[in-house]
């Protein structure tokens, strides 16, 4: 990541050129004021540019977290190697040893680039080309800025390392608690609630609050870091699932009959009778949608900002009790008893995709935070990890001794599976890699069979709801260490929360935009475009964009005779014709080559097969 601060190494010269090329927008009041301003400002014009290139303080970086768990002493961070270029003009006349803007790592910049340059564009006009260049320059600039601000993500994820090939799975919670600091140790706790049956639990988006509901009606919400209880009630009805809505102030509880919504005082605000016999709940935070899966086989989307049911979709697959959301594109994944997982969006009446995952029914589904991997476990005792990037093929498969009943991904891609009264956690190589199922990262035994699992966001904590209550266990490296303070701030005050709520509501994404590829919006609707073109041509009676036929220019000195005009026309026509023929010939050749290759492959494959005539060869 860190690159040697060589002047102008990573910043391509092209960028500078483009920057100079791109003019600052001229303001009408500036024309008069420019001379005066110039006189007033003492610094040279380059000064301003330099200041601009300084790393911007990122909005989310104002709170740093301390409680990271690691057995290894952390390497002290390298001192900042970049110095202020202003010192260049110090009074003493000393030279700046590192002139110019600080270099940025190309890989980091690449991470923020979104334009797919691999696709070759058709030949474009000069004007179009300039537009494209501007767009590319903009992208480069913004991605460099974003790469620079990476520096502000100061926190590093925790990790757990065994000594000399020691299996990390053998390290028990007590050891971890012993090793970490007091604040982190306090995050490991057990709630002994044997009376009200197996518990489901849910953390709020900020990771600060925890709500849990026992099957026998016990519902409670608490600030689990300070252990301050917000409310505790008994709804006198079986509780199937519990979920926080957009903030910790609202709680949705799927009770035996209907869906109820409580506030953080435990006061029932709503009873939604249109969602009955709900088994699982899922909240889509950016769309303000509460998705409910019911025993009757309906998947219902409830818009909690306006209280309207957006869509009620019949999955036509019997009882629904396996559900999870894809945090990347807000698609709901439902597991069915026929071994398939179906992907749903409120905009479509049919599933967006259906994947056959298991021979038996699907018991649990989980999707990781990047939307790349999906973990499923089925009645056939298998745990599979699927690639969701278009192929939907299993990347790895493992047979578990008892089969996993519950699955969950952490923010950093750790996978937890609850099997009976044991939880197993698997970790991958990095953040973007799937968890390798060969060796468990951690295991833990609980006092009862697992009923609910969730990793706490922004914390290295896994919450497990089981028949004996709630267990909060430490899983080093589970949570994202750096959080966006404006987006989900665990330390926010009430006022901040209210502010955030308003902004979030203003930025609410319409429900119909949920689709498999969220970047589809940045694409042109080609079908309507073509149709529009066709209609236009019909309306006008001709194609306005068609190439006009060649018209020879009139020439003088008798060279503009009809015969020569015709000759010239013919020449152009012939040239065009030749081009066409050339192209078609090339195509033919390519096709032939392909066919030949096919044949060769076939011949090879057939050659491998023992033929009946082989015995005559000897």
């Amino acid at each position: 990541m860190e690159t040697a601060p060589k002047p102008g190494r990573d910043v391509p010269p092209k960028k500078d050129k483009l920057q100079t090329k791109r003019k600052k927008p001229r303001r009408y009041w500036e024309e008069e004021t420019v001379p005066t301003r110039d006189g007033a400002s003492p610094g040279p014009p380059c000064n301003k540019k330099n200041r601009e290139l300084r790393p911007q303080r990122r909005k989310n970086a104002h709170i740093l977290k301390k409680s990271r768990i690691s057995k290894k002493p952390q390497v002290p961070k390298k001192p900042r190697e970049w110095k202020n270029p202003e010192s260049q003009r110090s009074l003493s006349g000393a030279q700046d040893p590192f002139p110019g803007p600080a270099p940025v790592s190309v890989e980091v910049v690449q991470k923020f680039c979104r334009i797919d340059k691999s696709r070759k564009l058709p030949r474009s006009k000069a004007k179009t080309r300039s537009r494209l260049e501007v767009a590319e320059a903009e992208e480069e600039e913004t991605s460099i800025k974003a790469a620079r601000s990476e520096l502000l993500l100061a926190e590093e994820p925790g990790f757990l390392e065994g000594e000399d090939g020691e299996d990390t799975a053998k390290i028990c919670q007590a050891d971890i608690v012993e090793a970490v600091d007091i604040a982190s140790a306090a995050k490991h706790f057990d709630l002994n609630l044997r009376q009200f049956g197996p518990y489901r639990l849910n953390y709020s988006r900020t990771g600060r609050h925890l709500a849990f509901g026992g099957r026998r009606g016990h519902v409670a919400a608490l600030d689990w870091v300070t252990k301050k209880l917000m409310c505790e009630i008994n709804v006198m009805e079986a509780v199937r699932d519990i979920r926080f809505l957009h903030s910790e102030a609202l709680l949705a509880v799927a009770q035996n009959r209907w869906l109820h919504i409580y506030d953080n005082q435990g006061i029932e605000l709503h009873c939604i009778r249109r969602c009955d016999r709900v088994t699982r709940l899922e909240f889509l935070p950016f769309h303000f949608l509460l998705a409910t899966a019911s025993e009757t086989g309906f998947l219902t989307y409830l818009d909690v900002s306006v209280g309207k049911i957006v869509a009620a979709l019949n999955a036509r697959a019997g009882r629904l009790d396996v559900m999870s959301q894809n945090p990347y594109n807000a698609v709901i994944h439902l597991g069915h008893s026929n071994g398939t997982v179906s992907l749903w969006s409120p905009a479509m009446k049919e599933p967006l995709a259906k994947i056959l995952c298991h021979r038996g029914g699907v018991r649990a589904v989980a999707v990781d935070s990047t939307g790349t991997y999906m973990a499923t476990s089925g009645l056939d005792h298998q745990l599979k990890i699927f690639d969701l990037r278009g192929t939907y093929q299993p990347l790895s498969t493992r047979t578990l001794p008892h089969g996993a009943g519950h699955l969950a991904f952490s923010q950093r891609g750790l996978l937890v599976a609850g099997m009976g009264d044991v939880v197993n956690i698997w970790a991958g190589q990095g953040k973007a890699s799937p968890p390798s199922l060969e060796q468990p990262y951690l295991t833990h035994r609980l006092s009862g069979p697992v009923h609910g699992l969730q990793f706490c966001p922004f914390e290295d904590v896994l919450g497990v709801g089981h028949s004996g209550g709630i267990t909060s266990m430490l899983v080093p490296g589970a949570g994202e260490p750096n959080f966006d303070g404006l987006e989900s701030n665990p330390y926010r005050s009430r006022k901040q929360r209210q502010e955030w709520e308003v902004k979030a509501l203003l930025e609410k994404v319409p429900a119909e935009l949920i689709c498999l590829d969220p970047r589809a919006l940045a694409k042109v609707d080609v079908i309507s475009l073509e149709q529009g073109k066709k209609e236009r041509i019909e309306r006008l009676g001709y194609d306005p964009e068609a190439k006009s036929p060649f018209q020879p220019k009139p020439k003088q000195k008798g060279r503009s005779s009809t015969a020569s005009l015709v000759k010239r026309k013919r020449k152009v026509m012939d040239e065009e014709h030749r081009d066409k023929v050339r192209q078609s010939l090339q195509q033919q050749q390519q096709q032939q080559q392909q066919q030949q290759q096919h044949k060769e492959v076939k011949a090879k494959s057939t050659g491998a097969r023992p033929s009946a005539l082989d015995r005559f060869v000897h």
Binding site: T340, G390, S396, P401, C515
Partner: protein, 718 residues
């Protein structure tokens, strides 16, 4: 559907073969009997027959290429002229004399004249005047007989109505097929009859005898009365044998053997065998149990005759697949040739006998084909082996033929009778089951393939089979272990070839049934800590529970339906009854349908084309499309270009604050409190936006010309 088509095409192929083969045989025989001339003619005929097979030029004019001195009356042919040769034409003089012409004309006129027939009045017919007539009419009415003379009687009409057009067509087709089959069979029989090879006939007879014996056995069990009749026949054969003294070692061959017997062990044995045969044949059989003994005897004889190799093969290849059997026998044949070339002719012969003796209701066409091949190979082999040991083969031929002959005589007759009766049945009744029994060969192929998974050996075959299964709406069979999903990293990395294959299609079955390594976990769930046996039991139970559940088949079915539903539909614009007869049960002709069918353009390939375990919905999400750009802005000519410019997000969620501000700076910013002066004429020179131009024009009655603009510019510069 496809199987049927396949069957038809196969049938057609075999028919063609037949047609081609038949004239060949004729040719062979003809060339032997008659001169070269005839041979040539027949060759011509053959060529024509072959060329007419494609159905285009049915009739070709015969032309005489060269004048020949000798005009033979046998060579006169009527073909080519397109009309029949009438004897009267030949008798007539070349030129007709004019004197007779008038007389002829008169004669013709007289001949053509007919007596005047007055049509009876219809009313008169229908009116019944006398009581007798009334009675007759009554009777006629009662029996629904026509009074007048209509084309069809009411009964006939009723019968016509009872049978629909389709049925009639079907029935006709059946009849046609039956006739065709019969003709093939007859042709085959004729050809077989012409075969001069004694050995062949011997073998055939032996096979028939065997079959007859079997039938007899069955008859005994099923129908004792008929069996008795059969027995009588056999008895009669025995009597004939006794009378003819066939096996008494009195024949020419026997006498020669008797001379040789002194020195040659084999000859002695042959003589003894013949005597034994004689005894056997002349023995009187009375009880049914004795017949069994006799059977045993014959079987022994057979075993003596049949070499071990063949028996082995028979034991091995008792499966239903004739092709398998063939390949097996050929293999063993090879082995035999390698072991000792002397025994070569015999196993072959027996093989033929086997194939003939099988005579199951398999497929006559199939057998025919096989037979041709065998005969060819036989001929070659015999040519080769003739030099090796001609005497011996001759000897064996003779002995065996003599032995079975008497037995066969009767049995063959019986068989012929059976055949004939069967043929008659086929031709007269022409029922469906009969027809089906006649030609099950092409249809049988597929089931055979499906039945024998061990035949499947290579990957391609497997894949093809898989496809077939797809078509047959059947579940793909469990496949070889090696063919595993490519993407699973825990696979054995052994077969690179297979991987290449897999890119094309991912096997569903493998995907779900791969044996994945189980997780070694330190903490095992407490329920699992029971004994291993219980675990195994549980697994067994799970396996059993899911055995019936066919998740894969259901999924494949669903996918197929989804694919069908998403395919663009063809538009059929045929108007039934337009330009042809219409009505109930009549369909517009295929040609017309083809002409008026607008085929939907094939859509882009499905995203899940190669993903067997996935169904991706290809429907367009109109809600999302409403938010997408649908008109290309000005300088862009292709949507890719425009897409590239809107790919970077400009929101503050994705950008740093500074970048966000920079990206979203408005083009025009007004400063509060700053005075914005109205546009003057001088400004227009700089900015030539249309709106300002308009305003200027409205304000100034004079039109601004380009010259004027230039002036303005100059002034502003100054």
């Amino acid at each position: 559907m496809t199987a049927n088509r396949l069957a038809e095409s196969l049938l057609a192929l075999s028919q063609q073969d037949e047609l081609v083969d038949l004239p060949k045989d004729c040719l062979l025989s003809g060339s032997e009997d008659e001169g070269d001339n005839d041979g040539e003619r027949e060759h011509q005929k053959l060529l024509e027959a072959i060329s007419s097979l494609d159905g285009k030029n049915r009739r070709k004019l015969a032309e005489r290429s060269e004048a020949s001195l000798k005009v033979s009356e046998f060579n006169v042919s009527s073909e080519g002229s397109g009309e029949k040769l009438v004897l009267a034409d030949l008798l007539e003089p070349v030129k007709t004399s004019s004197s007779l012409a008038t007389v002829k004309k008169q004669l013709n006129r007289v001949k053509s004249k007919k007596t005047v027939e007055l049509p009876l009045n219809k009313e008169e017919i229908e009116r019944a005047r006398t009581p007798l007539e009334q009675e007759i009419f009554n009777l006629l009415h009662k029996n629904k007989q026509p009074v007048a003379d209509p084309l069809l009687t009411p009964v006939e009409k009723a019968s016509l109505q009872a049978m629909s057009l389709e049925e009639a067509k079907m029935r006709r087709a059946e009849l046609q097929r039956a006739r065709a089959l019969q003709s093939y069979y007859e042709a085959k029989a004729r050809r077989e009859k012409k075969i001069k090879s004694k050995k062949y006939h011997k073998v055939v007879k032996k096979g028939k005898a065997k079959k007859a014996l079997k039938e007899f056995e069955q008859l005994q069990k099923v129908n004792p009365a008929a069996a008795l009749e059969e027995l009588e026949k056999i008895e009669k054969a025995r009597m004939m044998e006794r009378m003819s003294l066939k096996h008494q070692n009195s024949g020419k061959w026997a006498k020669s053997k008797a001379i040789m017997a002194k020195y040659d062990l084999e000859a002695r044995q042959a003589m003894q065998e013949q005597l034994a045969k004689n005894k056997e044949l002349t023995q009187k059989l009375q009880v049914a149990s004795e017949s069994e003994e006799e059977e045993g005897g014959t079987e022994e004889v057979e075993e003596l005759l049949v070499p071990d190799v063949v028996n082995e093969v028979q034991m091995n290849a008792d499966g239903p697949n004739p092709w398998m059997l063939r390949s097996c026998t050929s293999d063993t044949k090879e082995a035999a040739t390698q072991e000792d070339p002397e025994q070569l002719p015999e196993p072959e012969a027996h093989e033929v006998s086997e194939s003939e003796g099988e005579e199951r209701p398999v497929a006559e066409e199939e057998i025919l084909l096989r037979e041709f091949e065998e005969r060819r190979s036989l001929r070659k082999r015999s040519e080769l082996s003739q030099d090796a040991e001609p005497a011996r083969s001759q000897e064996t031929k003779d002995s065996s033929s003599q032995e079975v002959l008497s037995e066969l005589r009767v049995l063959a007759q019986k068989l012929k009778e059976n055949d004939q009766s069967r043929k008659q049945k086929a031709s007269s009744k022409g029922t469906i089951p009969q027809v089906q029994r006649e030609e099950p060969a092409p249809e049988e192929e597929e089931p055979l393939l499906l039945q024998r998974p061990e035949r499947v050996q290579t990957l391609e075959e497997l894949e093809e089979l898989g496809k077939e299964c797809f078509q047959n709406k059947e579940l793909p069979r469990p496949v070889l272990e090696g063919q595993q999903s490519e993407r699973t990293p825990n696979n054995r990395p052994d077969a690179p070839k297979e991987k290449k294959k897999k890119e094309q299609m991912i096997d569903l079955q493998n995907l779900l049934t791969t044996q994945s390594p189980s997780v070694k976990s330190l903490a095992v769930p407490t329920i699992e800590e029971l004994e291993d046996e219980e675990e195994r039991n549980q697994r067994q139970m799970i396996k059993e529970a899911f055995a019936g559940d066919d998740v894969i088949r259901d999924f494949l079915k669903e996918k197929r339906e989804a694919v069908e539903a998403s395919k663009p539909k063809d538009v059929d614009l045929t108007l039934p009854g337009w330009g042809e007869w219409g009505g109930v049960g009549l369909k517009p002709s295929a040609k017309k349908r083809r002409r008026f069918l607008i085929k939907a353009p094939e859509g882009p390939p499905r995203k899940d084309k190669n993903l067997t375990n996935v169904i991706i919905n290809e429907k367009r999400n109109i809600h999302t499309a409403a938010h997408q750009v649908r008109v290309l802005p000005y300088p862009f000519t292709h949507h890719w270009q425009f897409e590239r410019t809107i790919q970077t997000p400009i929101g503050s969620t994705w950008n740093t604050q500074r970048a966000f501000q920079k990206l979203t700076t408005p083009k025009v910013v007004t400063k509060p409190g700053h005075i914005i002066n109205p546009i003057k004429a001088e400004d227009v020179g700089y900015r030539s936006s249309s709106r300002s131009d308009l305003s200027v024009i409205q304000r100034n009655p004079k039109r601004i010309t380009t010259r004027h603009k230039k002036q303005l510019k100059k002034s502003s510069v100054d």
